[in-house]
């Protein structure tokens, strides 16, 4: 046993030495001086980010390294990194994480030509980030449990006792907080707090849009509040999580039709600002928007007048409520959700 043990020790020591050497070799490779590689912090879906970057590199020859994470993981990471951040460009799924980084003063102004590509209501009013994609709030429902005409005219009504145990929502993520912010912007503090208290009492809490949709699909709960493209993606995949459901759109100015915008911005600390601005111009411009429209991502296009994927309900029919994206998701919203016991 001792002899065998000693051999194990020797093997382990050799393995440690070998791996350490490998690690040292891997860390030693410094980038060449003429290297134009830029780093993208990608909080958008991985596949979409990859499609965008591949097309950009094909057109410009500029290589892009991708770092993948969630909206607030990467947003908080950028704030923690401060001016020392290795990131050049940051893109998200929802605008509040853009506001977080913008509020910390970490973005550079976006090139005016790029800003001109995107309607003003889908970009920062400080001119430091622009919209690159959008998703609309919808109610997903199970027709075997509730008819379309039984659904309320406003998502505010889901807080009423009639919906006790019958409405599902995912309060934990960035997605739902953007919706709460919209409710707050459109209906004021008192109504929002009341709505949140009602949802806490009535609602069934799920961890994500997908989990909410699955629960409705399985018939656990008749209706849920999610974003549209999770449903369209699942329908395109296999329908396993959505076959028994339908979508209800709110097109009359109700918060239930809130349009959340994915943003992109260039970091002020970027060491290759020209290339970084070029990437952002690509994302918001015709080329990048066409990549989005052709992809299986199924979010809406917002820039350069490129129409969305034809599988979707036409963008012009959405008629979302007017909400100032820059005013979304302040500390107040988190406080209200904490007060309601949702966070």
């Amino acid at each position: 046993m001792v002899v065998q043990g000693r051999r194990i020790v020797r093997v382990v020591l050799a393995a440690v030495a070998g791996v350490a050497l490998l690690a040292a070799a891997a860390c030693g490779g410094a980038p060449a001086p003429e290297d134009r590689t830029i780093t993208l912090y990608n909080a958008q879906h991985e596949d979409l980010g990859r499609l965008w970057v591949d097309e950009f590199t094909r057109q410009t020859g500029i290589p892009v390294q991708i770092r993948k994470g969630g909206d607030f993981e990467l947003g908080n990471q950028l704030v923690a990194e401060g001016a020392a951040s290795p990131a050049d460009v940051f893109i998200t799924e929802n605008s509040p994480a853009m506001s977080l980084v913008s509020g910390a003063g970490l973005f550079a102004p976006v090139d005016p030509a790029t800003r001109a590509q995107v309607p003003a209501q889908y970009s920062s009013n400080r001119g430091d980030w622009v919209g690159i994609a959008a998703r609309t709030t919808v109610v997903v429902y199970n027709p075997s449990l509730v008819r379309a005409d039984q659904l309320p005219a406003s998502i505010l009504e889901f807080a009423q006792p009639a919906w006790q145990g019958r409405i599902a929502f995912p309060p934990g993520g960035a997605d739902f907080q953007a919706i709460v912010s919209a409710v707050n912007a459109l209906n004021g503090d008192a109504a929002t707090q009341q709505w949140l208290a009602g949802l806490k009492a009535n609602g069934r809490i799920y961890q994500s849009n997908t989990a909410t949709m699955q629960a409705v699909n399985r018939g656990e709960v008749p209706a849920g509040i999610i974003y549209h493209y999770y449903w369209y993606q699942d329908r395109a995949e296999s329908g396993a999580n959505s076959a028994n459901t339908q979508l209800q759109f709110y097109t009359d100015g109700d918060a239930g039709g809130f349009l959340s915008v994915s943003g992109g911005g260039v970091l002020a600390s970027s060491k290759r600002p020209a290339e970084a601005q070029q990437l952002l111009a690509f994302l918001a411009g015709a080329a990048g928007q066409q990549v989005l429209a052709r992809s299986e991502n199924l979010e809406y296009t917002v820039g350069a007048g490129v129409p969305a994927n034809p599988a979707l309900k036409p963008f012009a029919e959405l008629r979302p409520p007017p909400v100032d994206l820059n005013a979304l998701n302040g500390p107040k919203i988190v406080q209200m959700m904490q007060q309601a016991g949702l966070l």
């Binding site: 046993m1 001792v2 065998q4 043990g5 000693r6 194990i8 020790v9 382990v12 393995a15 440690v16 791996v19 350490a20 490998l22 690690a23 891997a26 780093t39 879906h45 991985e46 390294q65 770092r67 993948k68 969630g70 607030f72 993981e73 947003g75 908080n76 990471q77 923690a80 990194e81 401060g82 020392a84 290795p86 977080l100 934990g172 993520g173 960035a174 907080q177 069934r204 809490i205 799920y206 961890q207 989990a211 699955q214 656990e220 999770y230 993606q233 699942d234 395109a236 995949e237 296999s238 396993a240 999580n241 998701n329 302040g330 919203i333 988190v334 959700m337 904490q338 007060q339 966070l343």
Partner: protein, 513 residues
């Protein structure tokens, strides 16, 4: 009974230095929490802690922790006893199968259960899934003790007039106690930090809430305060562990091999016992593996790209091996001091090293970002920094195994080697290390398993462009591409099998008591 000297020896200062470095690393995230809390001010803290939601989370966390730790202790001890001490047909195979759930990430098990039994959520779902995922943490150390237990001790107890049952309670149970308690402690620490599995099951604990808060733009302070609550919970858990383990000597002095005990015939209980272990294997292994197969077969996105899968596999294995080696080496002096030089400082160092495992990866990662980018910018987003994060998070996994192995290693062997004139380094290499090899192997294997499924710290700290099996699985699963995600989860399970196997070998070699 405690025969441990307090003589300081050559070589101790080095061990103290390394152990202190390890403890300081573990304190780093705690320091980050403390500084953030100070910046927040007492008023801010009270506002964030003193609200009904925090009470709700504390109750959820405590109830689940006690229930799961108890369930794992009972189940793990039962499976260990039935596979090591009875004539259950195919006992070695069952023993290996009971280690195998460690190779399946808890969030995969969780997802599988949710898709099989949609109603499984809340407390009952969380209890079932976490128990199925974590009971091997008790089964393995207890099986190791049972296998190595010297029959003479029981025989002496019988000869002195105790019945078989009383001998088991007075001799076998105390021998198993450190293993049961150590395993249950790991279960508790895992639970404190578990996110993915519980989030899916709609059971909010303190850690689930911390992730939710980090998902909110301006909620940093709230998340930090909750992390502080988690540190307190961890300290309570460690205090309970100290109270339960006891300090009696467990090493055997004597020559020759320990006599193994004959297996107890199950008799009429054989069929129910087989049914029970079969059911457990179906629940803990069958359900998640069947789900993986179903994802692979369903779903349009099932197009296997061999290149990326291979890269992710190699990265996961490389990071896992490196982290396992570094963490085990870093932890050894901590465990050695705690066992061989019991005193205030070693105990403090050892307890400190446990803290990291109870903290969510995101807190550890953010603390490292803030420190590294200012103090050692050259290391930021490099492999060494990522390995450091893994070491902070997973030191306790190595510590528990090394401690258990060291406790059962008679200090006299080292003393004799010293007495015969071997320098301390030679004693370490020629006596301690070979005798500890299997314990260290188990320690490294557990760290490897944890690293191969780690997500958040990897996402935040890995060199840009790094893809591991866990991050690839997560990226695809959040995009709803379960078909595309399944090969990554399946490979995660495959690369974990050798580590799980190594853990059972540790058991079968037997550590003599």
């Amino acid at each position: 009974m405690t025969v441990v000297g307090r003589r300081a020896r050559v070589g101790d200062p080095l061990r103290v230095a390394v152990a202190s470095a390890a403890a300081l690393l573990a304190l780093l995230p705690v320091g980050y929490i403390a500084v953030s809390a100070v910046l927040l001010g007492p008023r801010g803290i009270v506002d964030l802690v003193w609200r009904p939601r925090v009470g709700e989370l504390l109750v959820n966390t405590t109830v689940l922790l006690v229930a799961t730790a108890t369930a794992c202790a009972v189940l793990g001890t039962a499976t260990a006893w039935v596979t090591e001490r009875t004539d259950l047909p195919g006992a070695p195979v069952w023993g290996a199968l009971f280690a195998a759930p460690l190779a399946v990430p808890a969030f995969v098990t969780s997802y599988a259960w949710v898709s099989v039994l949609p109603g499984v959520d809340g407390f009952v779902g969380a209890l079932v899934v976490t128990t199925m995922s974590y009971f091997p943490l008790v089964h393995l150390p207890v099986a190791a003790v049972l296998r190595g237990l010297d029959r003479d001790q029981e025989d002496v107890a019988r000869a002195l007039g105790l019945s078989a049952g009383a001998a088991a309670v007075r001799v076998v149970l105390p021998a198993m106690r450190p293993a049961i308690v150590g395993g249950a402690l790991l279960v508790g620490l895992h639970l404190l930090a578990e996110y993915g599995a519980l989030a899916l099951l709609r059971y909010p604990t303190v850690t689930v809430a911390i992730y939710d808060l980090f998902e909110s733009t301006f909620a940093g302070p709230g998340a930090i305060v909750l992390a502080g609550v988690l540190v307190v919970l961890c300290l309570v858990l460690l205090a309970v562990d100290v109270a339960l383990v006891g300090r009696a000597r467990r090493a055997r002095v004597g020559s020759g091999a320990a006599r193994r005990r004959a297996r107890t015939p199950l008799g009429a209980a054989r069929v129910p016992a087989l049914l029970g272990v079969g059911l457990l294997v179906v629940a803990a292994l069958g359900v998640p593996l069947a789900s993986l197969v179903r994802w692979l077969l369903e779903g349009r996105s099932t197009t296997l790209e061999a290149g990326p899968l291979l890269t992710a596999t190699v990265t996961s294995i490389g990071l896992g091996l490196l982290a396992a080696a570094v963490t085990t080496a870093l932890t050894f002096p901590v465990a050695w001091l705690a066992v061989r030089r019991p005193g205030r400082l070693p105990r403090l160092l050892e307890r400190t090293a446990y803290l990291g495992n109870a903290l969510p990866g995101i807190v550890v990662a953010l603390a490292l970002i803030i420190v590294a980018i200012r103090l050692v910018p050259g290391l930021y987003q490099t492999t060494p920094l990522l390995i450091t994060a893994y070491a902070i998070l997973f030191m306790p996994l190595a510590l528990v195994n090394l401690r258990a192995a060291l406790v059962r290693l008679p200090p006299e062997l080292e003393d004799v080697a010293h007495g015969l004139g071997s320098p301390p380094a030679a004693v370490l290499v020629r006596v301690t290390a070979p005798l500890l090899a299997r314990g260290a192997g188990a320690a490294a294997a557990l760290v490897f398993l944890a690293v191969s499924t780690e997500l958040t710290a990897t996402l935040l700290l890995a060199p840009t462009g790094t893809t591991t099996l866990a991050t690839a699985f997560w990226g695809k699963a959040t995009a709803l591409a379960y078909g595309a995600a399944a090969p990554y989860a399946a490979t995660m399970v495959l690369i974990s099998v050798p580590a799980a196997f190594l853990l059972t070998r540790h058991v079968h070699a037997g550590v003599r008591t």
